[in-house]
Amino acid sequence: MSAGSRRLSFLGVGVAPVLIVSALVGSAAVGLADADGDSRRSGFDFMGPQTQAMQGDDTSNPGMLAVLEGEDIWNRKAGAADKSCADCHGDAARSMHGVAAHYPAFDTGTGGPINLDQRINTCREKNQEAEPFPWESAEILALSAYVGLQSRGMPVQVGDDARLAGAIKAGDEAFHRKQGQLDFSCADCHDANWDRKLGGSVIPQGHATGYPIYRLEWQSMGSLQRRLRNCMAGVRAEPYSYGSPEFVELELYLMSRSRGMAVETPAVRP
């Protein structure tokens, strides 16, 4: 009962419990213009108008409930250090501006790529001295949605770090590797057959620019890794486990493909 309605102060409309921010999203949530000779299209472009409208209006996008939750967690003290994210990072609108657009990113600690959820949990363990949030928990989804929102509309920046070239290549190979009883690769659908229909569903190009997303099928928020597990289950493959190097490499490869496209977090998808 404690968590009440919140204002979207990070959007600069903290005057009253009033959220008129719909216009912000419309231009952000699309792929690059064909005029540039860029044929990349966000999953947003493949959705029906109702689902697009749901994402495009912050007062109707259920993902914004997670964002509000994330804002709360950002400001809540936690762990043995009794510190909040805000105690070190201050106002997320400034400190986190554009940050999510760089993830997965190189981590000096592990010498490899980590995704945003892992980055948040590393910070949590090291600086807050708190237990990491479990994969797919409401908390980690909320916090990554909140941090992700601070990059909404900004171009994805992943793919230019030479230290990650090997990991991107590994992700590329995973994307093209046939898997499961049905023996499909990601590329079989998302490169070779996008815009066609698998049953009733249009196949998008696989640009993961809006995660964590509110997926209508789930009726909740979920991470890119959860979505990838759905795809793997679809081709009857054994999904990688959450946080496995294979998933992070795949995530990294996918984001490098989307370099320059706009971040849409929190996106809505069917």
Partner: protein
């Protein structure tokens, strides 16, 4: 109980019809689903929503399991005078959550 997102115009002209949009986080468990153990998951939905305007009820709704998780409801009201709108959601556990929003009528 839950996080809510309410959109009420902060100001309105007297007599103007304003639209109110509400979202609340709730699983809206239908009572028709079975869990991994095969047993029916008990129903837990928000079954009642009301809106009062300076204490007078101006709108209400009875909701059933067919309403989505994280219920979204929009409706309208006439901006009659400055004051407070109180929005209440009541779930099957008997919990009621009330949120308020101010409106200034010119």
């Amino acid at each position: 109980m839950a996080r809510t997102l309410i959109n009420v115009p902060p100001t309105a002209k007297r007599g103007e019809v304003v639209e109110i949009k509400t979202l609340i986080s709730h699983p809206m468990e239908t009572g028709f689903r079975t869990g991994p153990d095969g047993a029916l998951i008990p129903r837990d939905i928000i079954h009642r929503f009301t809106c009062t305007y300076n204490g007078e009820e101006v709108f209400s709704a009875d909701l059933f399991p067919a309403i989505t998780a994280n219920p979204f409801i929009t409706f309208t009201t006439v901006a009659t005078e400055s004051g407070e709108l109180a929005l209440s959601w009541t779930d099957d556990k008997g919990q009621t959550q009330t949120e308020t929003a101010k409106i200034t009528v010119e």
